[in-house]
């Protein structure tokens, strides 16, 4: 017997904060819309977008807690994932088609580790061209889709941990801890470029936001099905 979560016991005056494990192929906003629909309240928002092809922890605030969303957004993030050397896509993930293929046989695990180390610490990072950043009032991913040239300025971010397991190349498993605003796709792109063969990201999961961990999160479907009015 699954325990229901009673909407009537929620306190939107104080505000509620839910930890949700975002499913693959859902946008972060899809999750918000779904929860908003079930709770029947307008004020629902998330603290930090996850790309559709990423899974993992999404913090969702409802009611008055939406005013604290920035505080959650400011927290550091932890991710695990996989990058694959030797192929690239314009978006760096599998949202777009492969656009280059390069030999990777000469690359050693040690080189991958060194390249990751190079992108650790306080670094300047160029966001991916497929991102929601605006240039001249337009989202850059729209320009990227039209195949227009997009020039993005590097931004300071902090990568406090970039651990790689390159024991089964071309696949490289990684764990990253970083400040808010860090794009993991940029790190993958930059490691790939530094190695000269390019890389794309095949998998990404956000395991923590600050001290909030995905193990404590609700699986979205489970959360939705357990939400009850009384």
């Amino acid at each position: 017997m699954v325990e229901p979560i009673l909407i009537s016991e929620m306190d939107f005056e104080i505000g509620e904060v839910f930890l949700i494990d975002k499913p693959l192929e859902w946008t972060s906003f899809d999750v918000v819309k779904k929860i908003r629909g079930r709770l029947k309240i307008k004020k629902v928002g998330h603290a930090g977008t996850l790309d559709p092809l990423a899974t993992g922890l999404l913090i969702v605030c409802a009611g008055k807690a939406t005013k604290n969303i920035n505080e959650y957004q400011d927290l550091g993030k932890t991710y695990t994932g996989t990058m694959v050397l030797g192929k690239t896509t314009p978006s760096v993930d599998l949202e777009t088609e492969f656009d280059s293929e390069n030999p990777f046989d000469h690359i050693t695990p040690k080189q991958v580790e060194e390249s990751a180390a190079q992108w650790t610490g306080d670094i300047m990072q160029v966001p991916p061209i497929f991102s929601a950043i605006k240039v001249d009032g337009e989202r850059v991913y729209k320009m990227a889709r039209r195949k227009e040239e997009v020039k993005l300025k590097p931004r300071p971010v902090q990568v406090s941990l970039f651990k790689v397991d390159a024991s089964s190349l071309p696949e490289v498993k990684f764990k990253i801890q970083c400040s808010k605003g860090t794009y993991i796709r940029s790190l993958v792109r930059d490691v790939g470029e530094a190695l000269g063969c390019g890389a794309y990201m095949s998998e990404l999961r956000r395991t923590a936001i600050g001290d909030f961990e995905v193990e404590d999160a609700f699986v979205l479907e489970d959360f939705i099905s357990r939400l009850q009015r009384d």
Partner: protein, 310 residues
């Protein structure tokens, strides 16, 4: 800083270094404790946690006592905690029911289970739970059983700065906003919104913005005229302010109104923040509007002199 209240999710805080209290005013003495938990948390690679109760326990336990005024609203306290570098602020709703909880139950529920406290650091006069029975000695004796260390900040370390929330309140009741500022380490401040007034000031050549303060428990300094700074849309302005019933124009209710020296725009319904810099004079009844106007001109000059350095 993450604020957690009600049923909101509490994360697994690594090595939580916790303190607890009402911290009204967040003055020098409080900051000693707060800085200590931030520093200790850094040393053990943990996080600093402030546990605070709201509403102020005295409002709940002695609701008939209307005289207690507070130096800080919850939002103001939260902002000050954040400035010190606190990681988590846990807001515990203080109710009569909650006040009946034994210190043992509170410690088990909150400090042990939810926060997984590694170390609790409290001021010498802090007590937990029903009838404030959870003293430092009690915590110390049971520390092994609770599974966290306890440290008391001794009396001399807090009192040697000669600051207490009560002293600051007294200073403000006497209009000594400069003394209060010394104790607080910042100017005493209040927030409100601009409400519509009678526009008598405009006729006198001193248009004022009347300020409505939402929280009735917020301490308003003694009646009189003050040199102040006013924050509107993230810009500070030099100004003078009057608190009082305005006897010269036949006022009945206490009004807070401020005249900004370099500002002419209408700002109704906007949030503003006031910082009290200096008390200029007590409120008094003038025989004519002309006399009042002459005084206001003098007040303006004194304010500008006081605010020269800002």
């Amino acid at each position: 800083m993450v604020i957690i209240e009600g049923h909101q999710a509490i994360p697994k805080i690594p090595n939580a270094i916790v303190t607890s209290g009402t911290f009204d005013g967040v003055h020098y003495g409080h900051k000693k404790i707060l800085r200590k938990i931030v520093k200790t948390a850094q040393e053990v690679n943990g996080k600093s946690v402030v546990l605070t109760f709201w509403p102020h326990p005295r409002f709940v336990l002695f609701p008939e006592e209307k005289t207690l005024k507070l130096l800080t609203t919850f939002e103001e306290k939260a902002q000050l905690f954040k400035q010190v570098g606190i990681d988590y602020l846990i807001k515990v709703e203080f109710t009569r029911e909650f006040s009946q909880q034994s210190s043992e139950a509170f410690i088990q529920n909150m400090l042990v289970e939810k926060l997984r406290t590694r170390k609790l650091i409290i001021g010498y006069d802090h007590r937990f739970g029903k009838n404030r029975s959870g003293s430092f000695e009690y915590l110390k004796e049971n520390s092994e059983r609770f599974g966290f260390e306890v440290e008391e900040i001794p009396r001399q370390d807090i009192d040697d700065v000669g600051v207490s929330s009560t002293k600051i309140r007294q200073a403000l009741f006497h209009g000594e906003v400069d003394l209060a500022a010394e104790y607080l380490g910042r100017h005493y401040s209040l927030r409100g919104t601009v409400i519509r007034g009678k526009k008598i000031g405009t006729e006198l050549g001193f248009p004022t913005a009347n300020i409505g303060v939402e929280e009735d428990f917020k301490l308003i300094p003694k009646d009189g005229a003050y040199a102040v700074r006013v924050l509107v849309d993230e810009v500070w302005h030099k100004a003078m302010l009057n608190v009082g019933i305005r006897p010269t124009v036949g006022g009945l209710h206490r009004v807070i109104e401020t005249h900004l020296f370099d500002f002419k725009k209408e700002i109704y319904d906007r949030p503003i923040q006031i910082e009290f810099v200096k008390h200029l004079r007590d409120e008094k009844k003038f025989d004519s509007l002309e006399e009042l106007k002459t005084q206001l001109q003098k007040d303006k000059l004194s304010s500008l002199a006081v605010l020269k350095e800002y």
